[in-house]
Symmetry: C2
Subunit: 377 residues, 2 copies
């Protein structure tokens, strides 16, 4: 098979990636170059969950506003998205949102309970529950579109990364009704009621795909799909019960991706057995957690060509968040090690191997960015 | 290197494994034969967490008694251990206890909070905290010894499996002070304060080792070390910061193990990258979670000989607990598939790939045992 990507992405000429204006175009940014396997102006770095609880300015701004409310007030979501860029000089903003936001926008009763996570009023347990899920429309993403527009206007040539949960991780919350360790509910349903599972996953795939598309069309220059719980599955279950729907989500933006279009990062934790499948959903960049060395990730991808003939791809990751609270010399040595391990890949954007822990000292993150930018590229 | 096991285990002649009395000896039991890679009277099966919340007789007996109290009342711990054997006809009892029991017996303030898990009065965060840990003695295991004796007297030729948490998983609870998803505390400490980590892990290794030894000397015919959180580590971190202490724990019973002695099962979840290391701690059987196929586990072990020259070993596992609440035909097909996948290993004891979920219908477990025993062996 030949290259599956479209060569001329269907992005509007006013999109930051398409602009012919050095001050506003994101095409030459360190991040986009890194995602495209090119060496840009500096070594790119950003942090998953860089916007949020580790920042005092975030905690202050959020006072009196619930988590999901803050995602849906465009000015606030935009400001929160921008805070870590100002503070840390990271090479990208990641849109501040939550994986259950598409559910909320569709009218499903869901809240983020502090210290718990997303809790649904009514978990989805049966085919009947799935059939009652609301229809998804593009209109519902209006507050998202507005927040993205406000954000990219501020960011100039620094790219915004669009954010969405992958269908399995979203479905896991919907079936359990809350966070769980073992995800037994969705893992039972996929075998026990394959038709209900198919309809639920088709719905979450559409929700994730439309959510990403709305952000890109409003100005996001890259996108990342988060499949936090993919590592709870066997390879066979991932391949047959999850991967088709992740592809389906990505199909909503496939006319926008490709070598000159939107880079798409696909991230999960505990994915060492399914790295090639993560790539073969249509991702252009594989995000890796802290458990597996990047040189080993690169080797495995090289040895398992996909149906489109692709082998290695640019990687993103994988500084261990546990080391953010270690002494500086321990952390610095680790960051240098991650850079060395990523050198074999055809592109490497530095990030954590999981989200910023809420207790992280933000000055440490700033120092990590400075270190990464100071290292010869 | 040649066989590391002692050939004549230092078990008392009155130990159930050493008895020359068909009605009381466990040596010819299906479980011990399976663990030794021999085909016994029937296909052996037991379930992790078979004793406990899934059984109404357990919930009734425990009424008004806290979890840790129930572990330390010998008659109650013994009765709880025996309940699933009577009900399900499983091929082994697993000693009913908790991984924090050695801490409790040593005088550390710890309770199991319902719906949360183990919570310590004072988490262990520094070298000073570690230095204040109490001394471990054999006397402290008296209630355990008594409970095991009561249990094996009832079990006759059916073996009791001794139970202990592995040093890392125990240390993770001690440092966090409670269950956590990412185990950031212990994972920071191992890099940031290696001396404190060494002393903490040496302490937990001694606690786990003595705990197992007490159970074996009182009559347990096999032992299982549970390293539930081992999968949260990179291979390098496991190998350098955890494995030496798991070996140290096992060294407390190495004179009791070996081809004619106590089989030692070593189990963890998410261990696909460290299967050989799990084996090379000195385990005779590798317990596998539901994520990786047993034929693939066997292949990986075959390809990575240990320093003692061993390659494949008998396996235990790995029915997906999520399928216990599926329709019977789905579950039956899965059980048959697990049996087929385990056929290549030099021994296979059926089990779940993780503990029995508390909501499991116990009649399903009984039916799974009947199915496994009915399949040609």
């Amino acid at each position: 098979m030949t290259q599956a990507f479209s060569q001329t992405p269907a992005l509007p000429a006013t999109h930051p990636l398409m602009l012919d204006d050095a001050e506003r175009s994101t095409a030459e940014s360190a991040l986009i170059q890194g995602y495209r396997g090119q060496v840009g102006v500096r070594r790119p770095v950003w942090f998953m969950r860089q916007a949020g609880r580790s920042l005092p300015e975030y905690r202050k701004l959020r006072e009196g506003t619930t988590m999901l409310e803050s995602c849906l007030i465009p000015e606030m979501a935009s400001e929160i998205t921008l805070q870590p860029v100002r503070r840390h000089d990271v090479d990208a903003a990641i849109f501040f949102s939550d994986i259950v936001i598409p559910l909320k926008l569709a009218g499903i009763g869901v809240e983020i309970q502090p210290g718990v996570g997303p809790v649904l009023d009514a978990p989805i347990r049966s085919a009947e529950d799935v059939d009652k899920l609301p229809e998804l429309t593009d209109d519902m993403f209006e507050p998202i579109t507005e927040a993205v527009k406000l954000t990219v206007a501020e960011l100039g040539s620094r790219p915004l990364i669009g954010f969405a949960g992958a269908p399995y991780t979203v479905a896991a919350y919907m079936v359990e009704g809350r966070p769980s360790r073992d995800h037994l509910g969705p893992r039972t349903m996929m075998h026990n009621d394959p038709k209900a599972w198919d309809r639920l996953m088709a719905w979450t795939a559409e929700a994730s795909g439309r959510f990403l598309r709305a952000q890109i069309m409003a100005g996001a220059s890259a996108a990342q799909l988060f499949d936090s719980w993919a590592g709870s599955l066997s390879r066979t279950n991932y391949e047959t019960k999850v991967m088709p729907y992740s592809k389906q989500a990505i199909s909503h933006i496939s006319d926008l991706t490709g070598p000159t279009g939107i880079p798409l990062v696909h991230f999960g934790t505990g994915t060492s057995e399914i790295l090639d499948l993560i790539r073969d959903t249509g991702a252009s960049v594989v995000g890796v957690d802290y458990r597996l060395r990047l040189d080993e990730v690169n080797r495995r991808l090289a040895n398992t060509p996909g149906p489109d003939g692709r082998t290695t791809v640019p990687l993103q990751g994988n500084i261990d968040p546990a080391l953010l609270s270690a002494q500086w010399d321990v952390l610095e040595a680790h960051v240098r090690d991650v850079i060395a391990q990523g050198a074999e890949a055809p592109g490497h954007v530095l990030n954590l191997g999981h989200g910023v822990p809420p207790t992280t000292d933000p000055t440490v993150l700033t120092r990590v960015v400075e270190l990464i930018h100071s290292i010869d590229y």
